[in-house]
């Protein structure tokens, strides 16, 4: 069951590191006409009619899974959800056997979320179906990176030349890596800021500036992408306490005010209010956190459409069943 590789993407979407600037821009452009579908009273178009998609979530996820599901359903795909607990995986079946069994049922695409870095590539190299990485360990979460790019572009009408700082737990964050590659490829300057315990070794070699102090990062940035501090990081000894984390690295109203200019605030969610971000920042006028969520559905529609062989310039026509 060979699938034609789309002209704009390959067979799979595994990460932004391996995409070109043109491919990333094509995805963002394709998302534009899809945004409107979610605003209609009847949120359904026949773009992926007859396609079968499995959402294989080996790790807990709420918003990413729901976002993919909305994207698939609004494009009229048939979807099956699959989670690790209560499935054959919990009976010891290997990832590759699970995937091959799913494929034997003649599916078109797999959206995979898995706790192991590289698992999406592992799967993609072993099955013919299109594979979309919905987060693999600490490696990449490309659709999150893309929706962050789209949200920034919506606001500034450009990406090139912007200064974007990703703050918090970079070490364990797949969102950070996808953002980093996507932003750099589209010409933004990228920095990271967080405790040194939560920055990857040699992160500078990935082409980013490192700020040790959040005040310096805020002083520099046009955009802050504030990452969630997971509670287990404190138990792992990476930071002494959440209270101290907020005092030293928290994105607070007082710190933003000191910068004296508007800084766009993104957060991939779910937020720990009062830890990495204060509520009055998250809910403030420069926060686009909910717009990120809205854009997530359009981005995922665009990715699924392109992997299915669609062309960016035909996306508008495809919505009415034409263009294929």
């Amino acid at each position: 069951m060979a699938h034609p590789a789309g002209p704009y993407l390959g067979k799979d979407l595994l990460g932004l590191e391996e995409l070109s600037a043109e491919q990333i821009t094509a995805i963002l452009d394709t998302a534009e006409p899809f945004k409107e579908i979610s605003e209609r009273p009847i949120k359904k178009v026949p773009v992926l009619r007859g396609k079968t998609i499995v959402n294989a979530f080996f790790e807990n996820s709420t918003r990413t899974r729901i976002s993919f599901e909305f994207a698939e359903k609004r494009l009229s795909a048939d979807t099956v959800n699959f989670s690790a607990s209560g499935s054959s995986v919990s009976k010891g079946e290997t990832l590759v056997d699970t995937a091959k069994n799913l494929e034997a049922m003649r599916i078109d695409m797999v959206v995979i979320r898995h706790g192991a870095s590289g698992s999406a590539r592992f799967l993609a190299e072993r099955i013919d179906s299109n594979v979309v990485n919905a987060g693999d360990g600490r490696h990449e979460h490309p659709t999150q990176g893309l929706l962050d790019l789209l949200t920034i572009r919506d606001h500034f009408r450009r990406i090139a030349g912007l200064k974007v700082c990703i703050t918090g737990d970079i070490l364990h964050s797949r969102v950070a890596r996808s953002n980093l590659w996507g932003l750099r490829k589209l010409g933004a300057e990228v920095a990271v800021c967080g405790p040194r315990t939560l920055l990857p070794r040699d992160v500078e070699e990935m082409g980013v500036t490192v700020f040790r102090r959040i005040e310096d990062a805020i002083e520099w940035a046009d955009v802050l992408n504030v990452l969630r501090l997971q509670l287990e990081r404190m138990q792992g000894g990476f930071v002494p306490s959440l209270r101290e984390y907020n005092r030293v690295f928290g994105v607070t109203r007082a710190r933003l005010d000191r910068a004296g200019r508007d800084i766009l605030i993104l957060h991939p969610g779910p937020m720990n209010r009062g830890v990495e971000i204060d509520s009055d920042v998250a809910d403030g006028p420069h926060s686009v956190i909910l717009q990120q969520v809205t854009n997530g559905v359009a981005i995922r529609m665009a990715v699924l459409y392109l992997l299915a062989g669609g062309a960016p310039e035909r996306a508008e026509a495809a919505k009415t069943g034409g263009g294929e």
């Binding site: 870095s117 590289g118 592992f122 490696h139 040699d202």
Partner: protein, 429 residues
Amino acid sequence: MRPVLIRGGRVIDPSQRMDATLDLLLHGGAVVEIGERLDAPEGAEVFDAAGLVVCPGLIDVHVHLREPGGEHKETIASGARAAAAGGFTAVVAMPNTSPPIDNPASVGFVRSEGMRAGGARVYPTGAITVGQKGEQLAEIGEMFAAGAVAVTDDGRPVMNAGVMRLALEYVQTFDIPVAVHEEDLALSRGGSMNEGVIASRLGLTGIPNAAEDVMIARDLMLAELTGGRLHVQHVSTRGGVELIRAAKARGIRVSAEATPHHFALTDQAVERYGTQAKMNPPLRSEADRAAVVEGVRDGTLDVIATDHAPHHYDEKEQAFEDAPNGIIGLETALGLALTELVGRGVIDLPTLVERMSCAPARALSLPGGTLRLGSPADVTVFHPDEEWTVDPAKSLSLSRNTPFRGWKLRGRPVRTLVEGRTVWAAERP
């Protein structure tokens, strides 16, 4: 047994500073004569070794034969055959089996299975500590009496420095070394590859060089304190090489290994999550690889050993972090050493024989490593530069896990003799 006359080969034996075209006569399991144009005794098998190197049998002091408990990966018999096919006349089996070799009965089992195998000689080792848990010394004296040639908790470090001190003191009665896998578990944090930008990009937990270096430094100090014999396994870091070099200069009794994969590969091999490049210690940076090569050259790393670590296909067919550590190495070691070290002019052939035969024998006080008259007739005959392509499907190991698939190597074994008996011979065109 028929006498064997190996005629006209380049006989290289660093133990007696020999490097000349000579004939070698083996009889009664021993080397009986070396000289020019020897007469073949009646009934002797005559083997024409013109253009080939004839040397004391290669010895690999670091292999995992997986028996008992992992017979789907390797058995003592299959491992001994694979060793012979790699030009090795003797191997030293690590005790991290299931259950671990931490008692004299288990040591005896490995020894007797090795004798039955009919390939390379198999020397057992015993665990340093009961269950390789790093807490209580195992019955080292009893295991020595049963045939253990060293003690090691390989695969794991002895995290408790006090226990390591006791081991280095206790082994002195038996004059065997303590062989050490150097890894501070609090620093390696369950990492699965070298710490560096590649791990950072791939989102994998890295193992810093310091995890190895601090333990090497600790154990060199303990060796100095106690006077015990230390054998540092699979050195992968520049810092480790420097520490051992300085320790040797101070007269500390230490020997150390370099593996072919650590002198031939870097963590670049892990790109795209290749589980065949996952091992512990991990493949390091280019600076580390170059330091390992330099360590082999100047003798700081006096022993080349494979860390042959077979794993079943299914076990490597997993996400990177879930796959087990290790690669097979017995049948590629000589070719890699000849290609990467001799072929690149790092060392000459006599030094290669020194690192793969004489020094391993000395490090673990094994018979062999020499062709002196009267010594065991363990002999390796190899072609110094014949080109061949690594094909894991042809391996005599039960496993196929190697990152060297498809590599073109120059130089390969031709015949392996143990006690004057041919245990493996290449198919010659």
